[in-house]
Every structure is written in structure tokens, then in C-alpha cells.
Symmetry: C2
Subunit: 648 residues, 2 copies
């Protein structure tokens, strides 16, 4: 089969970044760069040129930057992204006859060869380039060609001049350009990369545990949340809650009258996913919450849990969206032998799948219309992946500012796939990585492998579903340890409060990761002002994160060896090195631990002989260190970590 153009002699291969051969888009936030590399070569000895081409969202205009060879036929270029939405990039390469000619001429001249014919060849190349140009450039090129044709003494010098080379690099002919297939970048808002999430149950924000909290109660709580330094406030589902098979306190199958039920059992006579649970307030109240939060730079994030209580309007209006059993009943959720009769899963194999997809998308669109742009998606891995890919692309095409956090705690391949197909951020296994080896291995994978092109980790020390044994047994120091790890390992992170800052560590029973008296099933009243609460630490660390750009991105993470497995040490930095943060954490919440850290000095731009100053941003103390080997001692009961800033 004939190629369209057989004279394309440049080969472009092994392009990075690229996910699954271009099947999925890479991710960036506004202001970030894409560094693109490729193997680029051609046949024979001719020189090549290559440009990296990119087109930002909302424009048809392609821009280009020249790529440079970095050895072994590898080339590199980069571009910066300024607009949210989907950008595109590709590479073009071609045999550069003028560059080849100029290099060869240099060798011929050095060897003392007669180059009179060569000068004519060069003049022809320049004249052909001139024909493509007008005005000044045309004239300049014509003048160069003329000088070469005159073959005066200066002709060789003119021919070899870098100025001419640069002019021809930009304006020379590009014959038979090879073009790589276009690749995509999702350009997200800054909060996709750098965000601090706070989760709370609005119904627990009332004056006592007998009074259902409201959006107005949440509004009253906003200043405290802002003071702690959070910029996303995530609310569990705010929709009407089903009655049938309602769960009681501590997940009981036999609820007491008045038990409020689980917010994830969505849908009642008052409505479904587009309705508000009446006890929380009105739509106007919700609008006010969104507006008041925005004043404090807090975005309200909602929970997207595409499942229905038996009382959800969909069950009557769209019975075809659910699985029917031979006895005529609707199939409730199961993970045999466990049964979840308060939940009807949606059947994504319904014949009516297109209408279903449209309706689900309209739920997200509805809340966007109410001012919400951030969504935490509940168990996305139990819904058809094809649906998410379609839905997120459709939404983001209109609303590139939206953020979707995938709450999938499942097998690695599924979590990665959800991130690839479009989720902006992803929950992680952080909660179960509590030792040095596990943290090092996991965060190295997250931040130093191609996975980082699509997977933005959002580590949480706790969630309403996960109270890890470490927090159950480690007391306040354990909460401090996990908080500092999450906030410094993750540019984005979240906590479920006030359980977290109040160091709530009581499980429903030994061996369980469920909370005792979980807010999932009952209203809790929290005493926010216990003397030991972690609000001051949280505020300090969030302040440190905002002041230090090194902590606002994940990619610069480097681990530094220590001689004590209870001590973990790592650093982050800005690319140019103007901000360098070194973190050391005592992973043992029970004992003072000390040991030597063996700094990777190159990663910190330090020389082995150099004395350098560090400021611990947690307590303001100053340190002076030298070389790679330095001593650390951390008492979990005072402060289990250092967050050092390296002073330049």
C-alpha cells in the first residue's frame, strides 16, 4: 500500500509523555509545562530539525517551539499551558537540507576543499526559502543568497554564519515533514494539583446531637474551616434519604424511629439526586452556602453517588434502569453473601443506556448550575467505566473548571484506569501505608513513574469509611504523624473532620476500620474546643503549604535514606530550586526516635562540603547542617516531624 508521501524521511518514535499510545490524555494544571521527548532520526547522514507543536483549548491556532537533540537520537522541547480545557500537542520533523549543508560546508572548508559549487547549492536553498517569505525576511534572505553567489572572500564566512543558520532554521523550507499523531492534555484548574479538602456531615453541625444540622449551620462553621486553611469543603450526599431498609446507628438493620439513615441511600418521596434533603435547608440556603464559602476561597464539593434507595423516584419512573429478578422484585446491592437491601444499583447494561447516561450527566450539570464545580465520586469503579469517560469528557468540554475526585478503594489497575479515563484526582492507598518502606515505595510509584501523567493522588489520613488501626491505637501523635505525611507527600490531601482534628479513634469494634457511632448512620455532636484538638497544627501546616510552592506539586519528591526505620525523610523543591523543603517524620507515635539521615545532596542542589541553614517551619527554630549525614531526634508527644525550609 502506497504511503501518501514517500519522501517523509524523518522518523518520530517513543514520544513521552503519552498514555497507552495516545488513547488517553495526559493532565496538567494551568501554568504547568509539558516536557516532550521523542526519538527523532532519519536515514543517512543528513541533519534533522524538529518542532513541538501545541494548540491550547478554545483556539485553532498551533504554536511551535524547536526541539533540541539531547543525545542518542533523543530530542526534547517544552511548552507551557495557559488555558483550561483540552490542549493538543504533536511533533513535526524533517530533513533540514540547509543545516546539513552548513555543517558539511564547515567540514569541507576545514579540509581545504574547493567549495564554489557548494556555495551555489547554498544560494539555491536560501533562494527557495526567500520565495516563501515576504518583506524584510525575503530581502534579507535574497541578500544572503546574493553574497553566496558572488563567491567573494567573505562568501564562506557569510555561508557559515550562525545568523544565517538561525534565519534558515526558522524560515527555511520544511520539505516532506513527518507529523506525529496528535496527543491530548487536560488542562485543569490549579486546585486539581494543589488543594486541601475538608469533609464534614452538615447534619452534625447543629447545636446538639438531637438537632439536625443545616446549611446555615455549615455557613457558621465556614470561618473556622477557612482559618484551618482548607479550600475545598466536601459534603456527603445532601439529597433526600430513603426509608426502606433504612440503616440504624452503627449500621444496624433495626433502626430506631428518628434515625436519620445513611446519606448514601439516596432518594425519597421528596426527590432524588437533584433534590435537597429537606432537613438541611432549601436550595436558596445551599446557594448561600456556596456563595459564602467562595468569599473565603472555599469551593463546595458534592458527592456523586449513582445509586438509589428503593424510594428513589427513578425506581418508579425508570424501572428499566434496574435489574429485575424472576420474582418481580428489583435487584438490591449485594456482595454475596452480604446484602445491601437499602440500595438499588443502577444497571448499566440497560437497553435504555443512552437515556440513563443523559440523566446521570444531567445530575452533575444540575449542581454545576447551582455553583458547584468539584465532585467527589462515590465508588466510580462499580459503574461502567465507559460511562465515566463519556460523562466527564462531556462535562469538561463545557466546564473545564470541574474537578472529579475518584473515590475508588479497589485494585490498582482499576484505580489507574479511572484516572486515565478522566478523573481529575484519585484517592490512594495512603491510609494503609504506615511504614517507611510502604510509604517510600508507594509515593515513588505515584510521583516518579509515567503514572503521574494521569494519576493525581489525594491522600486522606481518615475518611468516614476508614479509621485505620494506626489512628485507633496511636492517639494524638498518630494523628499528627498522618496529617503531616498527607499534607507534605500530597500536594492535594483531605481529612474527614471534625473526627480528625478531635483525634476520634474509637472503632465500632476491635479489628474494624469503621468508626464507633459513625456519622454515616447518626447525627454526632462534636465538642470542637477540646484543648488537645489539632486545629492549630492544621492551620500552621496549611499555611506552610501556601507559602512554599515546593509543596504545591508532587513531582519533585525525593526520599532520603535514614538509619532508623521509624524515621522517614523526604524533600520537595521548585524546579529552579528557589524553594526547597525537607521533611522528617517519626513514624512511631509511641516513642522518641533518633537517627541519622543520609541526604541526597544533589537533589537539594547542595555540595558535600557545604554548610547550609534550615528553618523548621513548624516551630521557627533554625538549624545549621553540613554534608549529607545529619542527626535527627523527634518526640511524638511534642512534635513528630520537622518541616524544614532550606535557606539559600
Amino acid at each position: 500500500m502506497w504511503p501518501a508521501e514517500g519522501r517523509q524521511r524523518a522518523i518520530i518514535e517513543s514520544v513521552t509523555p503519552e498514555i497507552d499510545g495516545g488513547r488517553y490524555a495526559i493532565k496538567r494544571t494551568v501554568g504547568e509545562y509539558v516536557v516532550v521527548e521523542a526519538d527523532i532520526f532519519g536515514d543517512g547522514h543528513d541533519q534533522l530539525s524538529a518542532v513541538l507543536c501545541f494548540r491550547e483549548a478554545g483556539t485553532e491556532r498551533w504554536q511551535e517551539v524547536f526541539m533540541e537533540p539531547i543525545g542518542n537520537d533523543r530530542w526534547r522541547g517544552q511548552f507551557q499551558l495557559s488555558r483550561m480545557g483540552q490542549a493538543h500537542y504533536t511533533i513535526q520533523a524533517w530533513v533540514d537540507h540547509f543545516k546539513t549543508w552548513q555543517q558539511d560546508l564547515h567540514k569541507r572548508v576545514e579540509a581545504g576543499q574547493d567549495v564554489s559549487v557548494e556555495l551555489l547549492i547554498g544560494a539555491e536553498l536560501i533562494e527557495r526559502a526567500a520565495q516563501l517569505q515576504r518583506g524584510d525576511i525575503h530581502d534579507k534572505l535574497r541578500s544572503y543568497a546574493h553574497r553566496l553567489r558572488e563567491a567573494q572572500d567573505a562568501a564562506i564566512e557569510t555561508a557559515l554564519s550562525p545568523n544565517l543558520g538561525e534565519l534558515m532554521r526558522v524560515y527555511g523550507e520544511r520539505p516532506f515533514v513527518s507529523t506525529y499523531p496528535e496527543r491530548r492534555v487536560w488542562v485543569d484548574p490549579i486546585k486539581a494539583r494543589f488543594s486541601a479538602w475538608y469533609e464534614l456531615f452538615p447534619r452534625s453541625c447543629g447545636p446538639d446531637e438531637h438537632t439536625h444540622g443545616t446549611f446555615r449551620d455549615v455557613i457558621a462553621r465556614l470561618p473556622m474551616i477557612a482559618e484551618m486553611g482548607f479550600d475545598i469543603l466536601y459534603l456527603p450526599p445532601i439529597h433526600p434519604i430513603g426509608r426502606a431498609f433504612r440503616k440504624g446507628k452503627n449500621n444496624s438493620m433495626t433502626p430506631e424511629p428518628g434515625d436519620p439513615g445513611s446519606p448514601w441511600a439516596i432518594g425519597g418521596p421528596e426527590g432524588g439526586h437533584k433534590a435537597i434533603h429537606p432537613q438541611l435547608g432549601s436550595l436558596a440556603d445551599f446557594h448561600e452556602l456556596v456563595a459564602e464559602a467562595k468569599k473565603l476561597n472555599i469551593d463546595i464539593a458534592l458527592d456523586i453517588a449513582f445509586q438509589c434507595s428503593p424510594d428513589h423516584p427513578y425506581v418508579k419512573e425508570h424501572p428499566e434502569w434496574f435489574k429485575k429478578r424472576p420474582d418481580g422484585s428489583i435487584q438490591y446491592a449485594e456482595n454475596p453473601p452480604k446484602k445491601y437491601q437499602d440500595i438499588y444499583p443502577i444497571n448499566f447494561e440497560t437497553e435504555d443506556w443512552q437515556a440513563l447516561w443523559e440523566e446521570l450527566k444531567s445530575v452533575i450539570q444540575y449542581w454545576i448550575d447551582q455553583g458547584v464545580s468539584i465532585f467527589r465520586v462515590d465508588n466510580p469503579h462499580t459503574k461502567a467505566f465507559g460511562f465515566w469517560e463519556w460523562c466527564i469528557a462531556e462535562i469538561k468540554a463545557q466546564h473545564p473548571e470541574t474537578i472529579f475526585l475518584a473515590e475508588a478503594f479497589t485494585r490498582p489497575k482499576l484505580m489507574k484506569s479511572l484516572a486515565k479515563l478522566g478523573f481529575t484526582q484519585s484517592y490512594t492507598y495512603f491510609t494503609w501505608r504506615n511504614d517507611k518502606w510502604g510509604l517510600t515505595e508507594y509515593f515513588t510509584e505515584l510521583t516518579q513513574t509515567p503514572m503521574r501523567e494521569y494519576y493525581r493522588p489525594n491522600p486522606w489520613p481518615n475518611t468516614p469509611d476508614i479509621l485505620h488501626e494506626f489512628l485507633q491505637t496511636g492517639g494524638r501523635p498518630a494523628f499528627m504523624v498522618r496529617f503531616i505525611l498527607a499534607t507534605t507527600l500530597g500536594a492535594s490531601y483531605g481529612i474527614y473532620g471534625p473526627a480528625f482534628e478531635l483525634c476520634e479513634g474509637r472503632p465500632v469494634r476491635k479489628g474494624s476500620e469503621e468508626y464507633l457511632d459513625s456519622e454515616k448512620y447518626q447525627i454526632r455532636h462534636w465538642d470542637l474546643d477540646t484543648p488537645d484538638n489539632l486545629r492549630p497544627l492544621i492551620a500552621t501546616v496549611n499555611h506552610i503549604r501556601r507559602q512554599n510552592p515546593a509543596l504545591q506539586s508532587d513531582w519533585s519528591l525525593v526520599f532520603h535514606p535514614t538509619d532508623n526505620d521509624a524515621l522517614i525523610c523526604y524533600s520537595k523543591r521548585t524546579f529552579e530550586g528557589s524553594n526547597r523543603i525537607l521533611i522528617a517524620v517519626n513514624l512511631d507515635p509511641f516513642h522518641i526516635q533518633s537517627g541519622w539521615v543520609n541526604l541526597n545532596l544533589a537533589a537539594l542542589d547542595l555540595e558535600h562540603w557545604q554548610t547550609f541553614k534550615l528553618t523548621d517551619l513548624l516551630d521557627g527554630r533554625h538549624y545549621s547542617w553540613q554534608g549529607s549525614s545529619n542527626y535527627i531526634k523527634l518526640d511524638p508527644w511534642t512534635m513528630p516531624a520537622h518541616i524544614f525550609r532550606l535557606e539559600s
Copy 2:
């Protein structure tokens, strides 16, 4: 954008083997397997099934084998190839409702739940499958469904039976199948994988150095070549040689009258690439050579060197295929400041590129029509890569038995690219890998990385262009070392003889890799019967290679550490272990070397306590070893290597 079918819930990713996202075909030979792996998963808790589908050349019929999960959502399947030509493979996966149902039923029954409705669901699934079938299968399925509907005591046992599971696995519905894009395999003849090449200059086969050898002289040499065990005889270009700027002895610019010129300066008044140099004989003689060789299982391989002497007919007939200089002359080959005025390179940027490609392809087709199916391609990296991809695909579509060996000694990315785009075998850097580290690192890359899917190495200890210093200085032992390395590291290999077996090691000058009195520029007369010649060793090793399938493929190569850098040790084996070969070589041609080899016992199917017997196939001696640590001592002047067969 809507997907065509939104209910495809299975995801298929990270398929191996796959080259550049399917851009290029993988390679196999007839009889070999393709082991395919993929990440396959779906949403939720449902079970999946997956099949590996393949279609051999020359048929529209797809065959399938079930894939099996091997952990972490990775699946594996394999198929064997029986026909030369292009085969295709892909993967299909789907949510398997019956498998899910059967597994869930098992858990429900174990938990003592009422499963009467479940049995009806199962019966429905079986009935739906029955509707797709006829005859016995239909009846069998109906009968199973019936037994489930009756809900007798035995119904549960029936429902859980593996027989039913297997029946439904094969005949059950496959709803909303996900299909991976098709991938290609080039299925080549056996010699593409396992071959022994012998190169000689026919013109040096005459009775003395003053008489131009002929094809008839080569025919007389065939029995000796066959006795040595070679199965491919490769001839440098056999075409008329140009007069203009003809090179003299030792690449002299001032030839003597009667100097025969370089066979690579192709084309004279007698014709070009489809003609035969008159002094070699007639086309009929060539036919006889091909036929006589075939009787000895030797294929004649020709040299494809797409370049022209100034006297080539193309220069007059197709001046548009060459670059014209401003002074009206044709551009000769150059690598500035070096000039090769006896060679005109073809200009692949000619406007007439389609006619050029057709003509060049017709050259190969012409020699195929004369009975040749193996081609050694001279410097393919100096011709447009797009041309080769097109040309090889066109030729192989009609002649899948053809083999193209890429003679590209250039940068790694180019050599790999030529292999990807279609060359059957490739020359290697073997010639310059003379120490343990270099050999280990290089052959590990060649045989244990994804590169092996497309790159078939063909190591040569020498070529007419490359006489490595190791051979210049190491004497006969050096030739033995390099021969045994090439023949046991490479399932395919080649030598340039008789220079090789006669241990010709004289360079044209110190520091050069060119031969003194190179056959490229003059006729040589070789005394084939020197007492020290290596023919007996060559015959022995080629015999060993034919007797031991372990040596007929590259992929099983494992290196075993030794405590002496002059000793290299490695093994090859057949997949099932019936043939295991262990090779140890003394890389020092000057001294006896001894040391301990630390065997990787697992790679040899051995236990650490096990005593095992080895036979050195080079001298027939028997050894008894135990465990991993064993002693070796090799004298380069008697035999610098062991080729052990492990006795079972």
C-alpha cells in the same frame, strides 16, 4: 461523543507483545507460540471472561483460546503459528454473567441463604444460551435449565457443577464484548530464527589469484560449505562493476589496469542490479548454483545494495533519480570531507519516487524469480525508511518465505527502527562486544527485553568491512572464542570466509578494522587446507547447533555469574527443559583462565542438593557437578570453551 455501544464493560489494556501501540508487527517463525498478556477488568464485582483470537495468514477464519487470569487483573493466553505470512491477533473480553452467578451462588449456599430465585436466574441464563445453539448442545443446556427450574434437592449441586460451568463458558452468551484493536505477527520461515550464514567472494574461488572465480567455482566449493554446516551462502553483489573512479587494491584511488573494482560499485555497460557480472558466469550458471546449493539445504543469499556506479544504466535512463549539482554534475556519495566518487547515491526525495520504488522492488522480485529468497541489504539506514517498510511488506505479501538481513552498523535507534519496519534479521554490535560485561549487557538487552519481539540478532565475528582488533591480535584462539560466542549466543550468526576459518587477522594498517589486501578490492586466493584452519571446529559446532534445539532460539538465554572476568558463562534451554545447554568461554585468547561459576540453578531446573551430569559436546568428556558453585579451567590453545549438555 457517544460510543457505539455503551454497555461494553470490560477494559483491555497493556497488551503484550505490542510494538509502539501496534504500529509495527511482532515477529515469529513457523511453529513458534505467541504468549499474549493483558490487563483485563471491569467495573464492580462481576466476573469476566476473555479469549485470545488469532487469524493465520491466508485465511479469514478466526480461532480463539480462553485466556486465564494470572493475578493482579493480568490475563494470559497463547497460540501457535503454523503458516508463513501475516497473522493477526486480538483479545475479546466480556462480563460473564453465568460465571458471576455460579460463584455468587456458591457463596450464598455456603452462607445458608435461600437461593430459589437465584436458581431461576441461572435457568434463564442457561436458556438464553440454549437459544443460540442447536443439536446436542442445545438439548444439554435445556436439560440443565430444566433441572434448575425444578429446584429439586439436586438442583443446587447441578447449578454448581464444573461441567455446567465449562459448557456455559464456551456456549454462554457473550454480551457487549469489548474487542482490542487487531495486532499483527510476521510469521517467517525457520531460517529467520535459526541460520548459519557463510559469506564469500565468488571471484576469489578460482584456481589462483589471477583468475576470476565463477559461479561454477562456487558450486565446487558447496560441499565444503555444507560439511562445515552452513545453510545460507551469501554472495556480495554479483552485478557488473563500474569503471569510473574504480578503486584499486587496498582502496587505492589509483587502480592498476586489471583491478576488478569493488562489487558494491554496481552497474556498468553490461547492466545494473538485474544483470550478472560477465566474469562470474551466465544466468544459467547462477540458476545451477542456486539449484546445487538447495540440494545441500543451502540457500543462496544476495546482496541488495541500492546505489549506482557512474556507469549504471539508471544514470542515463533515470537521471531524475539522482541529485544534480548546480554545475550539471551528478552528486556522488560523500560523508564530508570524505568523497566516494565511484558511487552515486539514489535520491529518495526525487519527484519520481513512486517509479523509483517500483523499480527497486522489481530488482528484488527479479532475483526472487531466479530462486533467491534471502537478501542481505547493504546499508539500509542510508535509504528512506519508508521505502523499506513499503518494499518489504509488498514483497512478503507475495513471498512470505523471504528473509531480509539489515546490514546497518549505525546508531541504536536506527538499527531498531529498521527491524521494526520489517527487516527479518539484523546485524549487531557483537563484533565490538569482547568483554564479559559488554556481552552480558548487550545480549540481555537483545534477548530479554521487548526488543526481541522485532529484532532478530545475527552476530558476525567478522565481515569484509570489520576485522576487530581482538582478531588481529589474538590469533587462532581469538577466532575460536569469537566463533563459539557467535554460534551459541546467536541462534543465527554468520562468518566471512575463508578469511575467518583461516584466521586471517592482518589489518591494512595498525588501528584500522579493514583487512589488508581486502577482497573488496582484489581477488584473493586462499589456501584452504592450512593445518590450523578452523573447519573441523566449525563443523562440530554447527552440528551441535543442529542437534540441540536449545541453541536454535535466543529467548532462553541466561547468564551465570563467574568470579573471573575472563570467564563468561551462560545457558540456553528449550521451554519444557528437555534440552539444556551450558556454555563457558575463556574470553582471554592469551592465557589459561580458571575460576568458579555460580550457576543460576532455577534457570536450569536444578535443585541445590542435586548432582547432575554434563557432557562437553566439543570433546565428548563427561563431568559431574553439584549445586551452584563449580570450577572451570580453560586453555585457549586447546579449546577456549565448554559447550555442555546437561544430562537428565
